[in-house]
């Protein structure tokens, strides 16, 4: 075997920045690309939004609730809505990469592949937060309940981070299969269950005015799961996307 020629082209030599800068630049590039494409097509957001609004509308007609019961079930209804709409978004976000071979285009870039994961996950988080920002006031109006509680907003943010962290990883696995639309929820929901349980319990606590001591356990669990899922995804994404 020959010794390394190690003479990259002039352009390659003039590539900008060190490892961290390259990592951050890749995250930004993937995020920018996803946002720019979505701003133009609005396919993903509109599908998530219509689905989420339909779910809370159906719950509104299906459950005729008195004021007390509303506080009890709101957390569950909200997280069912977010997680179902989120799955739709995760599937679509990776399908766009796979359908035109763009995932290969991403993987061919000389970058740390976990940066691609973070870029995709951040894009998915933005889409999920946009949907949640529209669902919350709609739900408030339909059920006549105040959801703009700072603690609840924090739980929604933490829960969404955990959901998207593991969802993006599993979506990149599921997208390789022909049955990806069916496969993702089957893979995702058992794994993300701890996040959903913690999020529902913490949300319910804030809506029913429970004490911090009771809620903090669930918040701590949410933070722990977020950290675990993000770290795990960072470590395994490269292996998941390679043949």
């Amino acid at each position: 075997m020959a010794e390394p020629l190690a003479r990259p082209s002039d352009l390659a030599v003039r590539r900008k920045g060190g490892a961290l800068r390259s990592f951050l630049r890749t995250i930004w590039a993937v995020l920018w690309k996803d946002l720019a494409a979505e701003l133009r097509s609005r396919e993903l957001l509109s599908a998530m939004l219509v689905f989420a609004l339909l779910v809370i509308l159906i719950f509104n007609f299906a459950l005729e609730l008195d004021v007390r019961t509303r506080g009890t079930i709101t957390a569950g209804v909200l997280w069912v809505t977010f997680s179902f709409a989120g799955t739709l978004g995760l599937n679509r976000s990776m399908a766009v990469e796979k359908d035109r071979g763009c995932l290969d285009g991403l993987l061919l870039a000389p970058v740390d592949r976990s940066a691609i994961y973070f870029g995709k996950a951040l894009g998915n988080l933005v889409f999920m937060l946009v949907v949640e920002a529209i669902v919350l006031p709609t739900y408030s109006a339909l059920y006549n309940i105040n959801l703009f509680v700072p603690g609840l907003l924090l739980v929604i943010l933490l829960g969404s981070i955990g959901y998207v962290a593991v969802g993006t990883l599993l979506a990149s696995m599921a997208v390789q299969a022909r049955t990806r639309d069916v496969l993702l929820p089957i893979l995702l929901f058992p794994v993300v269950l701890p996040v959903l349980i913690s999020a529902v319990k913490a949300s319910s606590g804030f809506l029913q005015g429970a004490g911090w001591a009771e809620i903090s356990t669930w918040i701590n669990m949410l933070v722990a799961y977020d950290v675990i899922f993000i770290a795990l995804s960072y470590m395994v994404f490269d292996y998941v996307v390679e043949e």
């Binding site: 390394p4 020629l5 920045g17 590039a29 690309k33 035109r100 993987l107 061919l108 970058v111 390679e242």
Partner: protein
Amino acid sequence: MAMIEVRRLVKRFGLKPVLRGLDFSVEAGEFVALLGPNGAGKTTFLRILASLSRPTLGEIRIAGFSLPAQAPSVRGILGVVSHQPLLYGDLSAEENLRFYGMMYGLPDLKRRVDEVLELVGLRARRRDLVRQFSRGMQQRLAIARAILHDPQVMLFDEPHTGLDQEAAAMLDGILQEVAARGRTVVMSSHDILRAARLASRVDILSKGVIALSLKGEELDPDTLPRRYREVTRG
């Protein structure tokens, strides 16, 4: 010095072997066409060279870098064009190239994007969405994407698939220009005569190995189809 060196490459999908101890070598600046019937393993082989798939066994070096261990270094000097364009339909031609330029960390990106769009004849359509492009235009833009970072080695996986005659002729011109700039090119194809016309060497892949390698005067368009049939039939 060899730009690409492959020794005893084996690739299995489950128990099914696709490549069975393949040896392959390409000198710097050489243009090699890879021929073979469907299922011979051309795409699998090119995907392994592109670091998109891991070999089961064997040694691979590109510009001296070992695969898969030094894959990021290899990716930096590699340009890949496949039958899929690897482009985002909801972004314009310019936005697609800007995105890939950011991924490669290219300096002076605007000037470089202008250069490659000019080279593939798409500068006037720079702001059009890729989903509005014809197949031929998408393939030209795919080449612009692949040469954006000025790679030393170009891999083309059946780049003429789905192109009409005019678009295919234009693609031939671009391929010749890439080769004339001293880049090492490996192109898989089903078109025997086109491969013989463009490449300086033709390798025929059959049953997971390079069964025949022809260059120079051996690339006779009158005898090549017959030799191809002999190799791939036997």
